[in-house]
Symmetry: C2
Subunit: 123 residues, 2 copies
DNA sequence: CCTCTAGATTGACAGATCTCGAAACAGAGG
DNA sequence: CCTCTGTTTCGAGATCTGTCAATCTAGAGG
Protein backbone atom coordinates (compact mmCIF):
# COMPACT_ATOMS: atom_id res chain seq x y z
CA UNK A 1 0.00 0.00 0.00
CA UNK A 2 2.96 2.16 -0.39
CA UNK A 3 4.15 1.51 -3.88
CA UNK A 4 1.07 1.51 -5.99
CA UNK A 5 0.06 4.99 -5.13
CA UNK A 6 2.60 6.19 -7.59
CA UNK A 7 2.12 5.95 -11.29
CA UNK A 8 5.59 6.01 -12.66
CA UNK A 9 4.40 4.45 -15.85
CA UNK A 10 4.57 7.53 -17.99
CA UNK A 11 7.72 8.65 -16.29
CA UNK A 12 9.32 5.28 -16.59
CA UNK A 13 11.58 6.54 -19.29
CA UNK A 14 14.42 5.97 -16.91
CA UNK A 15 14.26 2.31 -17.67
CA UNK A 16 11.60 3.01 -20.21
CA UNK A 17 9.00 0.28 -20.54
CA UNK A 18 6.80 2.74 -22.37
CA UNK A 19 6.68 0.95 -25.67
CA UNK A 20 9.20 -1.76 -25.39
CA UNK A 21 7.62 -5.20 -25.68
CA UNK A 22 7.92 -7.57 -22.78
CA UNK A 23 9.22 -10.18 -25.15
CA UNK A 24 12.00 -7.97 -26.41
CA UNK A 25 14.18 -8.67 -23.45
CA UNK A 26 13.52 -9.48 -19.83
CA UNK A 27 12.25 -6.55 -17.83
CA UNK A 28 13.74 -5.50 -14.52
CA UNK A 29 12.16 -6.06 -11.15
CA UNK A 30 11.61 -2.34 -10.78
CA UNK A 31 9.81 -2.13 -14.10
CA UNK A 32 7.70 -5.13 -13.22
CA UNK A 33 6.70 -3.50 -9.95
CA UNK A 34 5.88 -0.30 -11.77
CA UNK A 35 3.82 -1.97 -14.46
CA UNK A 36 1.97 -4.67 -12.56
CA UNK A 37 -0.57 -2.34 -10.91
CA UNK A 38 -1.72 -1.11 -14.30
CA UNK A 39 -2.45 -4.63 -15.46
CA UNK A 40 -3.94 -5.49 -12.12
CA UNK A 41 -6.36 -2.62 -12.50
CA UNK A 42 -7.60 -4.32 -15.66
CA UNK A 43 -7.95 -7.62 -13.84
CA UNK A 44 -11.49 -6.97 -12.68
CA UNK A 45 -14.50 -7.51 -14.93
CA UNK A 46 -16.27 -4.39 -13.74
CA UNK A 47 -13.23 -2.19 -14.30
CA UNK A 48 -12.75 -3.72 -17.72
CA UNK A 49 -16.32 -2.84 -18.61
CA UNK A 50 -16.04 0.62 -17.14
CA UNK A 51 -12.92 1.36 -19.15
CA UNK A 52 -14.49 -0.06 -22.27
CA UNK A 53 -17.61 2.01 -21.81
CA UNK A 54 -15.60 5.17 -21.20
CA UNK A 55 -13.18 4.54 -24.04
CA UNK A 56 -15.91 3.69 -26.51
CA UNK A 57 -18.03 6.74 -25.80
CA UNK A 58 -18.63 8.66 -29.02
CA UNK A 59 -17.94 12.06 -27.45
CA UNK A 60 -14.81 10.68 -25.83
CA UNK A 61 -16.17 11.21 -22.37
CA UNK A 62 -18.73 9.55 -20.16
CA UNK A 63 -20.74 10.89 -17.26
CA UNK A 64 -20.64 8.83 -14.11
CA UNK A 65 -24.40 9.05 -14.03
CA UNK A 66 -24.43 6.98 -17.22
CA UNK A 67 -21.99 4.47 -15.75
CA UNK A 68 -24.19 3.73 -12.78
CA UNK A 69 -26.80 2.16 -14.98
CA UNK A 70 -26.05 -1.30 -16.25
CA UNK A 71 -23.98 -2.42 -13.30
CA UNK A 72 -25.47 -4.41 -10.48
CA UNK A 73 -23.18 -2.96 -7.87
CA UNK A 74 -23.68 -0.02 -5.58
CA UNK A 75 -22.57 3.53 -6.27
CA UNK A 76 -19.61 3.50 -3.90
CA UNK A 77 -18.31 0.37 -5.57
CA UNK A 78 -18.39 2.05 -8.98
CA UNK A 79 -16.64 5.01 -7.46
CA UNK A 80 -14.01 2.75 -5.99
CA UNK A 81 -13.31 1.05 -9.30
CA UNK A 82 -13.11 4.40 -11.07
CA UNK A 83 -10.56 5.47 -8.50
CA UNK A 84 -8.46 2.38 -9.16
CA UNK A 85 -8.54 3.05 -12.89
CA UNK A 86 -7.71 6.70 -12.22
CA UNK A 87 -4.72 5.79 -10.06
CA UNK A 88 -3.57 3.40 -12.76
CA UNK A 89 -3.53 6.33 -15.16
CA UNK A 90 -6.05 4.72 -17.48
CA UNK A 91 -8.79 7.32 -17.06
CA UNK A 92 -9.10 10.91 -15.98
CA UNK A 93 -12.04 12.59 -14.29
CA UNK A 94 -13.26 16.14 -14.58
CA UNK A 95 -16.03 17.78 -12.64
CA UNK A 96 -18.32 20.04 -14.63
CA UNK A 97 -21.00 21.48 -12.42
CA UNK A 98 -22.96 18.75 -10.80
CA UNK A 99 -21.68 15.86 -12.84
CA UNK A 100 -18.29 14.23 -13.24
CA UNK A 101 -17.05 13.19 -16.66
CA UNK A 102 -14.40 10.58 -17.33
CA UNK A 103 -12.16 10.19 -20.33
CA UNK A 104 -9.86 7.34 -21.28
CA UNK A 105 -6.12 7.94 -21.47
CA UNK A 106 -5.39 6.39 -24.85
CA UNK A 107 -1.64 6.72 -24.55
CA UNK A 108 -1.62 4.67 -21.40
CA UNK A 109 -3.74 1.97 -22.97
CA UNK A 110 -1.52 1.89 -26.02
CA UNK A 111 1.57 1.76 -23.85
CA UNK A 112 0.30 -1.32 -22.07
CA UNK A 113 -0.67 -2.86 -25.39
CA UNK A 114 2.82 -2.17 -26.69
CA UNK A 115 4.25 -4.20 -23.87
CA UNK A 116 2.25 -7.25 -24.78
CA UNK A 117 2.42 -7.13 -28.50
CA UNK A 118 4.92 -9.47 -29.97
CA UNK A 119 5.84 -6.60 -32.13
CA UNK A 120 4.77 -5.41 -35.57
CA UNK A 121 8.42 -5.44 -36.37
CA UNK A 122 8.64 -9.02 -35.24
CA UNK A 123 6.02 -10.16 -37.70
CA UNK B 1 -20.21 -11.96 -4.21
CA UNK B 2 -18.23 -14.21 -6.42
CA UNK B 3 -18.03 -13.84 -10.12
CA UNK B 4 -14.36 -14.25 -10.68
CA UNK B 5 -13.89 -17.88 -9.87
CA UNK B 6 -14.16 -19.12 -13.40
CA UNK B 7 -11.59 -18.66 -16.02
CA UNK B 8 -13.34 -19.43 -19.28
CA UNK B 9 -10.69 -17.52 -21.11
CA UNK B 10 -9.72 -20.35 -23.34
CA UNK B 11 -13.24 -20.65 -24.63
CA UNK B 12 -13.68 -16.94 -24.84
CA UNK B 13 -12.73 -17.18 -28.44
CA UNK B 14 -16.27 -18.26 -29.08
CA UNK B 15 -17.63 -14.84 -28.20
CA UNK B 16 -14.50 -13.58 -29.78
CA UNK B 17 -12.91 -10.66 -28.01
CA UNK B 18 -9.78 -11.84 -29.70
CA UNK B 19 -8.78 -8.70 -31.49
CA UNK B 20 -11.56 -6.25 -31.07
CA UNK B 21 -10.36 -3.20 -29.16
CA UNK B 22 -12.02 -2.34 -25.89
CA UNK B 23 -12.52 1.16 -27.13
CA UNK B 24 -14.33 0.07 -30.26
CA UNK B 25 -17.57 -0.47 -28.46
CA UNK B 26 -18.48 -1.42 -24.93
CA UNK B 27 -17.80 -5.05 -24.16
CA UNK B 28 -20.36 -7.33 -22.60
CA UNK B 29 -20.33 -8.53 -19.04
CA UNK B 30 -19.60 -12.06 -20.19
CA UNK B 31 -16.59 -10.93 -22.22
CA UNK B 32 -15.34 -8.85 -19.31
CA UNK B 33 -15.58 -11.86 -17.01
CA UNK B 34 -13.78 -13.98 -19.57
CA UNK B 35 -10.98 -11.50 -20.14
CA UNK B 36 -10.34 -10.13 -16.68
CA UNK B 37 -8.45 -13.20 -15.38
CA UNK B 38 -5.90 -12.88 -18.16
CA UNK B 39 -5.13 -9.29 -17.20
CA UNK B 40 -5.22 -10.22 -13.56
CA UNK B 41 -2.57 -12.83 -14.19
CA UNK B 42 -0.36 -10.02 -15.46
CA UNK B 43 -1.08 -7.95 -12.39
CA UNK B 44 1.71 -9.43 -10.33
CA UNK B 45 5.30 -8.22 -10.67
CA UNK B 46 6.75 -11.69 -10.42
CA UNK B 47 4.43 -13.07 -13.09
CA UNK B 48 5.20 -10.12 -15.31
CA UNK B 49 8.89 -10.83 -14.98
CA UNK B 50 8.41 -14.55 -15.48
CA UNK B 51 6.45 -13.99 -18.67
CA UNK B 52 8.96 -11.47 -19.88
CA UNK B 53 11.83 -13.82 -19.21
CA UNK B 54 10.10 -16.69 -20.96
CA UNK B 55 8.96 -14.63 -23.92
CA UNK B 56 12.34 -13.03 -24.40
CA UNK B 57 14.30 -16.26 -24.37
CA UNK B 58 16.34 -16.55 -27.55
CA UNK B 59 15.45 -20.20 -28.10
CA UNK B 60 11.80 -19.44 -27.48
CA UNK B 61 11.71 -21.58 -24.38
CA UNK B 62 12.98 -21.34 -20.84
CA UNK B 63 13.84 -24.03 -18.31
CA UNK B 64 12.26 -23.61 -14.90
CA UNK B 65 15.68 -24.18 -13.44
CA UNK B 66 16.73 -20.91 -15.05
CA UNK B 67 13.68 -19.12 -13.73
CA UNK B 68 14.45 -20.02 -10.16
CA UNK B 69 17.52 -17.88 -10.17
CA UNK B 70 16.99 -14.17 -9.95
CA UNK B 71 13.82 -14.31 -7.90
CA UNK B 72 13.86 -13.97 -4.16
CA UNK B 73 10.88 -16.20 -3.61
CA UNK B 74 10.76 -19.91 -2.92
CA UNK B 75 10.42 -22.63 -5.51
CA UNK B 76 6.80 -23.45 -4.79
CA UNK B 77 5.91 -19.79 -5.22
CA UNK B 78 7.50 -19.71 -8.66
CA UNK B 79 5.63 -22.87 -9.53
CA UNK B 80 2.38 -21.30 -8.37
CA UNK B 81 2.87 -18.21 -10.51
CA UNK B 82 3.74 -20.35 -13.51
CA UNK B 83 0.53 -22.24 -12.97
CA UNK B 84 -1.46 -19.02 -12.93
CA UNK B 85 0.14 -17.93 -16.19
CA UNK B 86 -0.48 -21.38 -17.64
CA UNK B 87 -4.16 -21.28 -16.69
CA UNK B 88 -4.41 -17.82 -18.21
CA UNK B 89 -3.19 -19.29 -21.46
CA UNK B 90 -0.15 -17.05 -21.60
CA UNK B 91 2.46 -19.80 -21.34
CA UNK B 92 2.71 -23.52 -21.98
CA UNK B 93 4.89 -26.03 -20.20
CA UNK B 94 6.49 -29.17 -21.53
CA UNK B 95 8.40 -31.73 -19.55
CA UNK B 96 11.52 -33.10 -21.21
CA UNK B 97 13.27 -35.57 -18.98
CA UNK B 98 14.07 -34.05 -15.66
CA UNK B 99 13.42 -30.44 -16.56
CA UNK B 100 10.33 -28.53 -17.60
CA UNK B 101 10.48 -25.99 -20.38
CA UNK B 102 8.05 -23.11 -20.79
CA UNK B 103 7.13 -21.21 -23.92
CA UNK B 104 5.12 -18.02 -24.29
CA UNK B 105 1.85 -18.11 -26.22
CA UNK B 106 2.36 -15.13 -28.48
CA UNK B 107 -1.14 -15.19 -29.93
CA UNK B 108 -2.64 -14.79 -26.49
CA UNK B 109 -0.34 -11.91 -25.68
CA UNK B 110 -1.14 -10.23 -28.96
CA UNK B 111 -4.85 -10.78 -28.42
CA UNK B 112 -4.71 -8.98 -25.10
CA UNK B 113 -2.67 -6.22 -26.67
CA UNK B 114 -5.25 -5.89 -29.42
CA UNK B 115 -7.90 -5.22 -26.83
CA UNK B 116 -6.02 -2.28 -25.39
CA UNK B 117 -4.76 -0.67 -28.50
CA UNK B 118 -6.69 2.42 -29.41
CA UNK B 119 -6.48 1.44 -32.99
CA UNK B 120 -4.49 2.92 -35.84
CA UNK B 121 -7.63 4.38 -37.37
CA UNK B 122 -8.90 5.92 -34.18
CA UNK B 123 -5.98 8.23 -33.58
C1' DC C 1 -28.55 30.51 4.21
C1' DC C 2 -30.75 26.21 3.46
C1' DT C 3 -31.77 22.11 0.99
C1' DC C 4 -31.26 18.83 -2.57
C1' DT C 5 -28.73 15.78 -5.74
C1' DA C 6 -24.42 13.59 -7.64
C1' DG C 7 -20.04 11.49 -6.32
C1' DA C 8 -16.51 10.46 -3.28
C1' DT C 9 -14.77 8.82 1.12
C1' DT C 10 -14.73 5.93 5.41
C1' DG C 11 -15.16 1.71 8.06
C1' DA C 12 -16.00 -2.94 8.20
C1' DC C 13 -16.41 -7.68 6.69
C1' DA C 14 -16.23 -11.95 3.49
C1' DG C 15 -13.56 -13.93 0.16
C1' DA C 16 -9.46 -14.19 -2.68
C1' DT C 17 -4.42 -14.00 -3.21
C1' DC C 18 0.57 -14.45 -1.99
C1' DT C 19 3.83 -16.83 0.39
C1' DC C 20 6.10 -20.49 2.63
C1' DG C 21 7.31 -25.23 4.73
C1' DA C 22 6.27 -29.97 4.25
C1' DA C 23 5.08 -33.62 1.50
C1' DA C 24 4.18 -35.91 -2.95
C1' DC C 25 5.41 -36.92 -7.69
C1' DA C 26 8.45 -37.73 -11.99
C1' DG C 27 12.70 -39.16 -14.17
C1' DA C 28 17.68 -40.15 -14.17
C1' DG C 29 21.24 -42.80 -12.55
C1' DG C 30 23.47 -46.11 -9.64
C1' DC D 1 15.11 -51.50 -6.47
C1' DC D 2 16.83 -47.53 -4.30
C1' DT D 3 18.24 -42.91 -4.08
C1' DC D 4 18.88 -38.37 -5.66
C1' DT D 5 17.48 -34.08 -7.90
C1' DG D 6 14.00 -31.15 -9.93
C1' DT D 7 9.19 -29.70 -9.90
C1' DT D 8 4.51 -29.68 -8.40
C1' DT D 9 0.87 -30.04 -4.99
C1' DC D 10 -0.98 -29.46 -0.30
C1' DG D 11 -2.20 -27.07 3.82
C1' DA D 12 -1.81 -22.78 6.67
C1' DG D 13 -1.07 -18.00 7.90
C1' DA D 14 -0.71 -13.05 6.70
C1' DT D 15 -2.10 -9.63 3.53
C1' DC D 16 -4.91 -7.64 -0.08
C1' DT D 17 -9.24 -6.86 -2.65
C1' DG D 18 -14.27 -6.22 -3.65
C1' DT D 19 -18.43 -4.88 -1.71
C1' DC D 20 -21.80 -2.43 0.91
C1' DA D 21 -24.00 0.85 4.46
C1' DA D 22 -23.25 5.17 6.41
C1' DT D 23 -21.24 9.54 6.10
C1' DC D 24 -19.14 13.50 3.92
C1' DT D 25 -18.14 17.07 0.16
C1' DA D 26 -19.15 19.93 -4.02
C1' DG D 27 -22.09 22.44 -6.68
C1' DA D 28 -27.09 23.94 -8.16
C1' DG D 29 -31.15 26.19 -7.01
C1' DG D 30 -34.42 28.11 -4.16
Amino acid sequence: MSKQKELPLLEAETSAPCCEPLAEHSISTADAIALAPAFKSLGDPIRLQLLSQIASAPEGETCVCDLNVGFDVSGPTISHHLKVLREAGLIEGERRGTWVYYTAVRERMSALAGLLVTGPAAV
